[in-house]
């Protein structure tokens, strides 16, 4: 038997080595450091402006009507629409694509809609000394009157170091949804505190098995329940600093509530977006704390619970006994303007229009508008539909109560909860006993993402 001749092999390896070194050297020569031009009037280095150039707008399919509304109102501005997934479901495509454009040094869109609300954390920081993607908006690009017209707190996800970098499209404040018809039929009264809520849940589990008062199986469960209990799991204290304290009484009381109700089967560990949930709980959801968009996504949706008209009511978020109520928040999209745009004026006009104009936010938008005056009109329009048994003032009340102790870091709290806590819930283990593990997972992830974890 013969082996390959050693001398030939050595020669081949030698050749590969030389060729490799040559390519590496060539690549090293290619990478030159980018120099940034002088600062512009709006607080970042501007690209050369061309007044008539078309603006490229990235939106998800739900936001296409916003672009159409803008084009009808402003036919003189050329808009090119690119439909993408809106960075939804953790796809991170907004961030991914901008990272590639940053490397290429060109190709950025002018305006981007993102269905996430933590994009400001990375979009305000340049890669490797390069220019950050997000343009600062509160230094002249968007009038301050417009900025102050947003619901208080609505721009928190867009604000880094007290500077505003994006406009909020819609709010997703949490409220207490309930089935008024079932509640009356069972002879229960609406709970007014979390303690009442837990007691009612235990009672429902006993007296009406199969009916539920909530769900804890989604990735956004911590944002619905832990956030509105003022659990300090996600307190972003600076652009790259965070405080994580998951062992506080605020975290423990809600964890204990979840453990108790899941064990009693008054709360389901299933995700509300699974076929099992729809199969098992259609007509059996007595109440459910959740975001504003549950109305259209879960209750008034033929493909989900499909609750008939005239049954659902909405109550303001619950307080703990002796405290003021706060709301959590699950998402709510944001609009970004590129600092690389060659037509900042048109792009800024677009941003202002889609977030504030009635033609989109009141007439077309599916979610609760972040802009206060549009929200008021949107609410009265929804009330006229007659679907709800109550007025929607609870939504408006909750909009201003989103607790600001829960921040918007670059890493995903949802992803951390899903991989550390959801398997525990599914296998019947205690959330309260594992709050420490949750905290550790958050701290680890924060450090990897470059955050300083405060003691």
């Amino acid at each position: 038997m013969n082996r390959i001749q050693p001398r030939r092999l050595v020669r081949q390896i030698g050749f590969l080595g030389v060729a490799g070194a040559a390519v590496v050297a060539a690549l090293a020569g290619c990478s030159s450091s980018k120099s940034s031009s002088s600062n512009g009037a709006y607080g970042f280095p501007e690209a050369e402006q061309r007044k008539d150039s078309a603006i490229i707008v990235w939106v998800d399919s739900t936001r296409v009507p916003a672009v159409k509304a803008f084009q009808e109102a402003n036919p003189s501005i050329k808009v090119k629409t690119v439909t993408y997934d809106g960075s939804s479901n953790g796809s991170n495509s907004f961030k991914t694509k901008m990272a590639l454009y940053d490397r290429a040094g060109k190709g950025w869109p002018d305006v981007v809609f993102s269905s996430q609300n933590n994009d400001a954390s990375w979009a305000t920081r340049g890669t490797a000394g390069g220019q950050a993607f997000a343009a600062r908006l509160d230094k002249g690009l968007i009038p301050s009157d417009t900025l102050s017209g947003f619901t208080p707190g609505a721009l928190n996800p867009c604000t880094v170091d007290d500077k505003v970098y994006c406009l909020r499209n819609d709010l997703s404040q949490t409220v207490l949804w309930y089935n008024d018809t079932l509640l009356k039929q069972f002879g229960y009264s609406l709970p007014t505190t979390w303690e009442d809520y837990q007691a009612l849940g235990e009672k429902v589990a006993k007296e009406h098995p199969g009916y539920i008062v909530g769900s804890a199986g989604d990735t956004f469960t911590p944002e619905v329940l832990m956030w509105s209990s003022k659990c300090q799991a996600n307190d972003v204290t600076g652009p790259k600093a965070v405080t994580v304290n998951t062992d506080s009484a605020e975290c423990k009381r809600m964890a204990a509530l979840i453990d108790k109700l899941v064990a009693d089967k008054g709360m389901t560990p299933l995700s509300v977006f699974t076929p099992e949930f729809v199969k098992e709980y259609t007509g059996k959801v007595l109440m459910m704390p959740g975001p504003a968009w549950y109305a259209g996504a879960i209750f008034n949706n033929p493909e989900s619970l499909n609750v008939p008209k005239g049954q659902m009511g909405v109550a303001a978020p619950l307080p703990w006994k002796g405290e003021d109520a706060v709301a959590g928040n699950v998402g709510g999209g944001t609009w970004f303007l590129s600092s690389h745009s060659a037509n900042l004026a048109a792009a800024a006009k677009f941003l202002e229009y889609v977030t504030t104009a009635d033609a989109y936010q009141v007439d077309e938008a599916p979610g609760y508008p972040a802009y206060a005056s549009a929200a008021a009109k949107w609410v009265s329009k929804q009330e006229q539909s007659g679907y709800f048994t109550t007025d929607l003032s609870a939504l408006t009340a909750a909009a201003g109560k989103v607790w600001d102790g829960w921040g918007y870091p670059s890493y995903s709290q949802e992803a951390i909860w899903a991989k550390t806590m959801t398997p525990l819930l599914t296998s019947g283990k205690s959330i309260e006993d594992n709050l420490g593990a949750w905290g550790t997972a958050i701290k680890d992830q924060a450090q990897v993402a470059g955050y300083k974890v405060n003691d």
Partner: protein, 327 residues
């Protein structure tokens, strides 16, 4: 035991499934080993035939690989930093758990692949009824005809007790919901089963081809000497398949260490219960596109490459893959 001084190559007739680029090179080399009959004309045509392979290997294998090496030993500004990226990724709390996940998967999968594929190939080869044998091979091969991601999609349904055709079996095992099936401790096995289901059929056909190439005289002689089918399998077929088993192990190892599609899809389908940083390749993806750290991403890729190369070298040496038949 029968000692063989020459091992016939089963190369050219084998319907090899191109699991990875390396397969073609190996085949080209093996058929080249019949060089004694080559004329000058066919020699000049040889380079022409391998040109597309060389071009694509350079464009999509070698040059990106070298670029990764370059990124791994420089910092974000392009300055020379030979160890910083490696230190950073190894220090990441997710690195060793991802490495453990991949190792567990690769071990389960490779052992299952080697044992079951060889066993099934020998059994199918021993079937004397022609239509039964060819039907069995077709059935083994069909799952492999589905492209990677779509076969994983199919498994998303199989693993969900509500939708699964084997739902009663899953429930009998105590799993009544999708999240209970995909508990973290089950994942290496689940990924191995998916990978086996999609990949093994092609290899069974390859092994069957290799078995066909064992000279009938040797088999005849063994039978006349009174060897049982088991003895024939152990003392004749297995030693003659050694090269092919090593070849399968090398290619499967390369594919296995790059575990990505299965956990990524399962992560999406499970709403993140299967983490999006389960495998090393996913972690590299997270570095590049979540942390915007292409250098760290390249460092993980280079580490993965080095480990896969070392393990491949072991398989190549043990399997005698580079031994040639001409004296």
């Amino acid at each position: 035991m029968i000692e063989l001084t020459t091992v016939r190559s089963a190369g050219s007739e084998t319907p090899s499934r191109p699991a990875a680029g390396g397969g073609r090179e190996e085949q080209a080399r093996m058929s080249n080993s019949r060089g004694t009959r080559q004329t000058a004309r066919s020699r000049s045509i040889g380079p022409l035939f391998i040109t597309p392979y060389v071009v694509f290997t350079l464009a999509f294998g070698v040059i990106p690989g070298l670029y990764a090496v370059y990124l791994a030993i420089t910092d974000a500004q392009g300055g020379f930093a030979p160890t910083a990226n490696f230190a950073r990724v190894i220090d990441d709390f997710r690195f060793f758990s991802a490495a453990r996940h991949v190792a567990a998967f690769v071990v389960i999968w490779l052992v299952a692949l080697v044992v079951l594929v060889v066993l099934l190939a020998i059994v199918v080869h021993a079937i004397r009824v022609r239509w039964l044998s060819s039907t069995a091979r077709l059935f083994f091969y069909i799952p492999g005809a589905l492209a990677g991601a779509s076969s994983v999609m199919l498994w998303l349904f199989v693993l969900d007790p509500v939708a699964s055709p084997v739902g009663p079996l899953l429930r009998a095992l105590g799993f009544d919901s999708f999240p209970s099936v995909i508990q973290p401790s089950h994942l290496p096995l689940i990924f191995a089963i998916i990978a086996f289901w999609t990949g093994a059929g092609g290899w069974i056909v390859v092994m069957y081809g290799a078995l066909n190439n064992i000279s009938t005289e040797i088999m005849e002689a063994a039978r006349i000497d009174g060897a049982s089918p088991v003895q024939i399998a152990l003392h004749i077929q297995l030693p003659l398949l050694r090269k092919w088993i090593a070849y399968m192990a090398v290619l499967s190892l390369a594919a296995g260490t790059q575990l990505f599609v299965e956990p990524s899809l399962l992560s999406q389908a499970s709403n993140g219960v299967v983490p999006n940083d389960y495998s090393l390749n996913q972690l590299a993806y997270q570095y590049a596109f979540d942390l915007n750290d292409f250098n760290g991403s390249a460092a993980i890729s280079v580490l993965l490459l080095v480990v896969a190369l070392l393990l491949s070298a072991v398989f190549v040496a043990k399997g005698g893959l580079f031994e040639t038949e001409d004296a």
